[in-house]
Symmetry: C2
Subunit: 411 residues, 2 copies
């Protein structure tokens, strides 16, 4: 049996195979960039057209009430809560991951006033480190930002740590941290945890409450398929909420936004994490996408994600041996998110050559090739064809073509 | 000649009359809520459909480059610069007005380190006061937030003031401040000005550079018709830019966002005001809207805005005498923005009764009725019919109908 035949058999047995039809995927394209921008769910175009034509065009300003725009951040939050293992009222959708991180870091540092360390990870997604630096420099100048390698995080949590900013799945390698272990360590030392779950939400069962997470932020446009730059989400465990005072108190976080009171009073619930007016069109696209994301059982999603990753790694080891490619992601599926990262010295042009063959992955400096395996729409056949394409690119040295060397703005 | 005939004559002579056809306005509806949410420009639906179908659906993650999503904040900013009397590279579109205000207040306070007063206006739009309070409490706890009545602002600028946060046009009354006067006073005392131009941008010629403004923020969804919750804009005068250090340093404000450097280096230009990934769909809707907004000569827009306001006020005084309505907005057009605000003790149900008649205005507690006169799509006939409708509502006491008493979430 050829690799293609084996992949076809797996696809035939895949309980999620039908979901692929709920996405708009260009014929002949293998889209493995869902870790960066998720594919387009079929319902979005029509929902957005209706939002523009009927809600904005006909309803106008009245649609804040009549079309329930005003409730969108909480409404989406309650739906995400189900995906995150959180309760209704613990999750809100608004702003960007970076802005939400700033809010929660400010709040968290005030919740642990005697402690002077903000612990985070060296080499994690840069915006998180930049915002953590801002939070210490601007909001808590007497605090120290302590950056520690991923492997040393558990041991680095001590009684000085106010909050540990942690990355559930690493954006480069796809390595997954054991959330329970870190949360238990933090709790033992009286520290709070703030998880960035951008690279795990939507591709595995999440149990923020059971796993003991205190706070979290995450991204709407990766595996949740909310659209380019979709608003982000914020999670606050219910018992922490009354004590949350955040540094971006805008009018929509007020207990009575339309009373136009001179003095700020925080909304009693998760709405206190709101700041300004949210981008409704982007929110409604995200909301429509959730119809499709929610259609899959997270346990099946995870099982397929692990299998796709195993097949990808096995395929690389089988087809690309001797072609100077190595697997960066953990071989043990339990330690992975839903992406496979490879290393090749000519990573950038190799990714470009793959794109020219219709295999869409991405590159991260200096030498990483990333392939997102979104189980909602990636098939085993996609993985098999991607591996074959990579083998052919490297064997035929297609990446040496000068047109693949030219860097673009977003790489 | 009846009022309706006179209005028809004015519409026949209106050089902007044809622009009304560029908006999607439901038949029979008089949309006077453009000070809150601007009407839908005709180009938006098609542009957004293309963005979803072709750019997200087909292009996927590659559209950050191929469709120039990555440039959208700056590209829109350069177009707004022309409307603001600013230069390319001084304006950027991103985040909400509230978040942008926080960034600029943080930056401004650091630009005047020896001064301990943040001056702003009592009774201005609440989110600005809330964010100003956050900026002092979180970013500069040794600073004082000094709130002064609008009429006393000029005299309140002294040598202790680091930055004066000022509102070009008041959201309740439509009163317009003389920007040059305030800027001159600030300059004389070495203070910076930060203008909220949400209620003036798009309805009058703006000359931020000539008028001597230092910093500004504004809203995309009012007279700019960028759509519900459209991203906001930020203006920094070019010579201040190199010294701007803002408290929300996210990855897209980095000099080389895709180098994923561990340490933040601010972009040399206005891009340093970016934080996280912007909501692209909302940005692209806003960009399309600018095609229509830019089609009008701002001098003609202003002339029509003044005439519409004059007609509205004269109509109210003529038709609604003795009906317990008073005009709150300045009678002198030169002191107004582009809205007319009325006062009536039963303001809320009166607005609801008007909406039932197809006249869409809005209400602000405790007793204000606001009518936005967006010259791009509001006609003299609209004004005449709105005045007549108000007279009829009050004469027939339609607002006493119990169904108009029920408050909704957004009022």
């Amino acid at each position: 049996m050829t690799g293609a035949e084996a992949a076809a058999q797996r696809d035939a047995r895949d309980p999620l195979a039908a979901l692929r039809g709920r996405f708009v995927l260009p014929p002949g394209q293998i889209y493995l960039a869902g870790h960066s921008l998720g594919a387009l769910p079929d319902v979005v175009s029509e929902r957005l057209a209706r939002a523009v034509r009927d809600e904005w065009g006909v309803g106008g300003v009245r649609s804040w009430n009549a079309a329930r725009w005003i409730d969108a951040p909480r409404r989406l939050g309650d739906r995400l809560a189900a995906l995150l293992g959180a309760r209704p009222g613990e999750v809100l959708v608004c702003d960007s991951t970076s802005v939400n991180l700033f809010k929660l870091l400010g709040a968290a540092l005030r919740l642990r006033p005697g402690r002077k360390v903000l612990l985070s990870e060296a080499g994690a997604f840069p915006t998180d480190a930049y915002i953590a630096a801002c939070a210490t420099r601007w909001l808590a100048p007497e605090h120290e930002l302590r950056l520690v390698a991923r492997a040393g995080l558990v041991d680095a949590i001590d009684d000085d740590v106010a909050v540990a900013l942690l990355h559930h799945v690493d954006y480069r390698t796809g390595h997954r941290l054991e959330m329970q272990t870190l949360n238990a360590a933090a709790r033992a030392h009286g520290a709070l945890t703030l998880w960035d779950v951008s690279h795990s939400t939507g591709v595995m069962p999440m149990e923020l409450e059971t796993w003991g997470a205190d706070l979290a932020v995450g991204c709407g446009y990766k595996y949740l398929c909310g659209g380019p730059g979709a608003p982000a989400f914020v999670y606050v465990r219910a018992d922490l909420l009354p004590g949350i005072e955040q540094p971006l108190e805008g009018w929509l976080g007020h207990a009575a936004p339309f009373a136009f009171e001179e003095t700020y009073r925080a909304a009693p619930g998760i709405e206190r994490m709101l700041c300004g007016t949210p981008p409704i069109l982007s929110l409604l696209a995200f909301e429509a996408a959730l119809d499709v994301i929610e259609a899959a059982d997270p346990t099946l999603v995870r099982a397929k994600s692990e299998s796709l990753g195993d097949e990808f790694i096995e395929g690389i080891e089988r087809e690309c041996a001797g072609l100077d490619v190595s697997v960066v992601s953990p071989r043990d599926a339990a330690s992975r998110g839903s992406q496979i990262t490879l290393r090749h010295a000519d990573g950038y042009p190799v990714v470009q050559a793959l794109i020219a063959r219709g295999v869409i992955g991405d590159f991260r400096a200096p030498d990483l090739l990333r392939f997102g395996l979104a189980p909602h729409y990636v098939s085993f056949g996609d993985v098999e064809r991607a591996v074959t394409a990579l083998r052919d690119v490297l064997t035929k040295k297609e990446h040496l073509d000068p047109r693949f060397q030219q860097r673009s703005a977003v790489t």
